[in-house]
Symmetry: C2
Subunit: 344 residues, 2 copies
Amino acid sequence: MSVQAPATLFDQDAVRRAVDTVLTDFLATQTHSALDRSLPQQAAEALSGFLGAGGKRIRPVLCVAGWQAAGGTGTLDPAIRAAASLEMFHSFALIHDDIIDASDTRRGQPTVHGQTSTHAAILIGDLVLVFADQLLHGAGLTPAQLDAVLPIANALRADTIYGQYLDISHAGQPSADPGPALTIAQYNIAKYTIEGPLLLGAALTGDGDAIRATLTACGMAVGEAFQLRDDLLGIFGNPTHTGKPCLDDLREGKTTVLMALALQNADGPQRRVLHHHVDNPHPIDAGADQIRTVLTDTGARTTVEEMITERRQSALTALDTANLPTHITAVLRSLAVSATSRTI
Amino acid sequence: MSVQAPATLFDQDAVRRAVDTVLTDFLATQTHSALDRSLPQQAAEALSGFLGAGGKRIRPVLCVAGWQAAGGTGTLDPAIRAAASLEMFHSFALIHDDIIDASDTRRGQPTVHGQTSTHAAILIGDLVLVFADQLLHGAGLTPAQLDAVLPIANALRADTIYGQYLDISHAGQPSADPGPALTIAQYNIAKYTIEGPLLLGAALTGDGDAIRATLTACGMAVGEAFQLRDDLLGIFGNPTHTGKPCLDDLREGKTTVLMALALQNADGPQRRVLHHHVDNPHPIDAGADQIRTVLTDTGARTTVEEMITERRQSALTALDTANLPTHITAVLRSLAVSATSRTI
């Protein structure tokens, strides 16, 4: 495989296909090697099903976009392999998240721990994190590229796990302070999903520092807005579109900016409605309208919409004032708009 | 810190102290950085207590021994830092193992999941695995060293996790075939604890291939013998010396060569004694003597002792025929003898 970087267009689908080819080949090699050594193949098999069942590959796409944004040209291969390692890391994170959230399904299939056991899924997740290393270390990077990329990859990983840790630490403890929820969004989504992949890709050119500030400004703003939109969709979205049961965040006692703002402004009866549903792990959906009314009447919904608009605007301004290649600016503008205004 | 490699002696205590200094400094930096960014410090704190509570640092010692065995000279620093990353990986493995084994204590202290929660400990373990990467990638290795070391580190990690996976897959399913138990010992102990650290250290010299066969022959033999000795001590050892409750392996339904050999040769009543204790998660200690009698009368105990002797001998032969520096041969000989004849 040798995909050339197109000079003036960014083909997201081609990136996804190339990344999936790398992942499929890697897993085939792992399965083969496990078989040769009489080792269990369940890990590679479970992962294969997991990766084959969907996923938007947003991190790999952003990694390749970051590489091109920083002036990357020539063969895409190293960028694609580094991007594939991000998707592998994401698989690790989801496998362990699903254990922690006690989720039954992921991408319409039973979760890995549901297919095996909690203990097996802990180990499969661990192995997948090692696979992510193997993909990155075997990406054919030059020593200079490796030197630039490893600290960014490690920071992205540590930040993601810190974000998860913060998330579970605050779960079930509704607070009227939106600070923690925003910090979680920054680590768990903005750095992990948007800024980190962009910076990792940019670092591959050895010249990532020049546009680091632009990618960070754009990535963090879009990432935060993405999470805020997700919080709104979790309450006001259509479950058949979002693929996520309505009010799931509330059921899990998730710390969100939306909830914090509502608690901040709620009067006594409104506060009781919100607390009732947080304290009740399986609220009946009949309560959904009551909650929506409180979130709307307290102004929380409007404030969150304003926060999204501000962040989208600040991302677009960062892009407008930077001197990125036109086709990359177009990709990032389109991401900033779609991630923050999506309705599904 | 700059420790010079002594030309003719190998000071294990100095290696342990230097490794502990690297680990302590690393964790202090992590705690500080988490504090600066308002991130939870529990991970670094839990790990600090964990590392401070003991541990023999056998992997770091072997890593530095492997480096010297392959002709490493000059400053010990990169070898010490790579060695510290092995100890960090070991901490990760123990944190997740303790969850899987539902262990209450580790090194005389509550386990990490006991101090926090299962979910927090999954994430703390994950973070510690990233810390291991950060230590290795920041060990000041040259591009050539990194190139040689990363594939070995990744293989060691994957093999260890495969070994754990095999272990839990076979737990509670007593078999008269010693094959799986020996495979688990190879991955979970021999490769992870002995061969892998030796090879990693040797790779640091860029000239590890020359003595790879010797280190593998010696490391695998000692590692298997170590596990076989451990199995015997788990049944016949003195719990006050081993620090492990007697018959714990049996209670956990652990797959051991000792048990498989006994089942292979047991008659009906003997088999019933063995199965009774595997099926009963909390056998009373009064049954211990009955089990010891069966393991002895079936010849399993003697066969395992013979397997240990064979492996010790083959390790010593591998060392005798290799042309390693005298002081390193002495260290490895002493390890081969102590690991296989230890009574505590």
